[in-house]
């Protein structure tokens, strides 16, 4: 029993944040009195158009798809650009990713709507572009950080290029790549909210509705949930990073 509890201990922070998020999603209505202080008057103070649970689910879905795509693309492009035959692409890949990050996501949304219409799809496209840089940059840094002597030894021992990549390079770069994935996911969670401006259903809905109607309580509710979600996921990733480091005996 005590062993089980001590095994659980490192997961305490992500667990606590997730529970807090869950409580906020389900029990937001209980805080009506509090929000009434912030938003006096006769109007509604708790966002009602969709349930918070539904918004959270939609938000997670959009983030999940976007993060999956940007992580896959970012890691793949990072690997490609560090292969002997792909090295010519290295400057190009880094530049494209940097440009993706410098574009404000709102601008990407504005550009995406005429092409892709309103809704979740343009939001996902914008999020993918925006989330690409951290994971790509860290993949490049991780792979380039593998000591040259280790690579020379791996080749000199007669490992095939595929074996060098999967058995040596990726395991050694894993911690750095994972840190990039963590940043990408966290940034995507926070940025997904702006999808609400072009009709995607996210936790940004209450924020946008609150801004439009001058209802500070709505804004706070949306912001609170987005913040809690980001912190929950981020602390989960932090724990996973520790596990990776432990497995490598570092």
């Amino acid at each position: 029993m005590t062993a089980g509890l001590s095994g659980l201990r490192p997961w305490l922070a992500p667990l606590a944040w997730s529970l807090l998020l869950l409580a906020a999603v389900l029990g937001m209505a209980e805080l009506e009195a509090l929000f009434r202080q912030i938003q006096p008057g006769t109007g509604a103070v708790i966002y009602q158009r969709d349930s918070f649970a539904q918004l959270l689910l939609n938000h997670l879905l959009i983030v999940g798809v976007a993060a999956l795509v940007s992580v896959s693309l970012g890691v793949a492009a990072g690997i490609l650009a560090t292969r002997a035959w792909g090295r010519d692409f290295l400057p190009l890949v880094s530049q494209v990713a940097s440009i993706g990050q410098t574009f404000p996501p709102v601008a990407v949304l504005a550009l995406a709507v005429p092409l892709l219409g309103f809704g979740s799809l343009p939001t996902i496209v914008a999020l993918v572009l925006y989330g690409l840089l951290p994971v790509l940059r860290n993949t490049l840094a991780g792979l380039q950080g593998v000591p040259p002597a280790v690579l020379e030894a791996a080749q000199g021992m007669g490992m095939a290029p595929r074996q060098v990549l999967f058995e040596v390079e990726l395991p050694l770069a894993a911690a750095v790549i994972f840190a990039g994935i963590r940043t990408t996911v966290t940034v995507t969670i926070a940025t997904a909210a702006i999808g609400s401006t072009i009709g995607a259903s996210t936790l940004g809905d209450p924020v946008i509705a609150g801004l439009v109607n001058g209802n500070t309580a709505y804004v706070l509710q949306g912001a609170l949930l987005i913040g809690l979600l980001a912190v929950s996921v981020d602390s989960g990733f932090e724990r996973l990073q520790q596990l990776i480091a432990e497995r490598q005996g570092l």
Binding site: A149, E152, A154, M157, G158, L172, L250
Partner: protein
């Protein structure tokens, strides 16, 4: 003594952007030799070594290993047949010592029991007790221990050929000296063909059966250590040997046992071991201010007399 050529280079060149790093060299290394390639940095010695396991391809010329032209061989298979040890060890930091050593046997698909037995054998051969070291990670080893593991890893697949690129270059002098002795001890048991690259002429003189001196991508001289000292081919080799030190270097290649005279009368007060070099004997004479030493064997018995005159005369070839 040495019979068939294990490694043959035939007019081999390698150009980098039009500049020859290796310029038309021909070389024959016999089975069981320790061939040490020595030269200043940028002379092409490391490039030559990497041509042998196809980490770099020749621009022109032929290389044959055990009679086979390597141009026709698959690079990965060729490398698994050759041990490879490098200066910064290149140990895989995320794997234990045992896993590091077993890399090539795994690539060769040896059965698990054979791999385990081999790891055990090699750790003991290099003086790293299996129980203490097998499960350590490279970051937990000292420089000397890490390089021992590097050598063990290079030997793991039981290759005929061992390629070593300045393997002891980053070690402190004491550790380097003990690993050099270790290498000679191991070689006397396993008789591999070793190609060893270094910039340190003393290391070359100590380890080599034959030395290849390279300068600007060409072979300047290929000879035994004694011949190199006695007949340097040109001013470059002379400067590499260090003019003022040549006498001492030659003395360090010869054993006391080769020069000692029969013991007559009472043995002198100070002794030297028969296995020691003439250089060590001379140093003892200078230190104790005596003109002769008593020579003792491994058991401490007095077996001969070494007067200072014996250092000056005798077969120097």
């Amino acid at each position: 003594m040495s019979a068939r050529p294990m490694i043959e280079l035939d007019n081999v060149s390698r150009l980098f952007e039009g500049v020859a790093a290796v310029d038309g060299i021909s070389l024959r290394i016999d089975s069981g030799e320790i061939c040490v390639i020595v030269g200043t940095s940028g002379c092409g010695k490391s490039t030559t070594l990497r041509l042998l396991n196809k980490l770099i391809d020749c621009s022109s010329g032929d290389i044959r290993i055990d009679g086979q032209a390597i141009a026709q061989l698959d690079a990965q298979r060729l490398r698994r047949r050759m041990g490879y040890a490098i200066q910064n060890t290149g140990l895989f930091p995320h794997w234990t010592v045992a896993r590091n050593i077993s890399v090539v046997p795994r690539l060769l698909n040896w059965p698990t029991e054979r791999i385990e037995a081999r790891v055990h054998e090699l750790l003991e051969l290099l003086g790293l007790p299996h129980a203490d070291f097998a499960h350590k990670f490279p970051s937990q080893l000292s420089g000397g221990q890490a390089q021992r593991v590097g050598v063990a890893r290079a030997l793991a697949g039981d290759p005929d050929i061992l390629l070593m690129d300045e393997p002891f270059g980053a070690l402190d002098p004491i550790t380097r000296d003990s690993l050099q002795n270790e290498l000679l001890r191991i070689q006397s048991r396993i008789h591999k063909t070793i190609v060893f690259v270094t910039h340190d002429i003393d290391e070359a003189l100590k380890l080599a059966t034959r030395i290849v001196v390279m300068d600007q991508g060409r072979i300047v001289q290929h000879d035994t250590p004694v011949n190199l000292l006695n007949h340097p081919a040109n001013a470059f080799v002379e400067s590499l040997l260090g003019q003022g030190e040549r006498g001492l270097k030659r003395a360090s290649l010869q054993r006391v046992a080769e020069r000692m005279l029969p013991l007559q009368g009472t043995p002198p007060a100070f002794s030297v071991a028969a296995q020691d070099s003439l250089r060590q004997a001379l140093s003892l004479m200078l230190w104790h201010r005596v003109g002769e030493l008593c020579v003792r064997d491994n058991e401490g018995r007095a077996v001969g007399l070494l007067p200072i005159s014996a250092l000056l005369h005798g077969a120097t070839a």
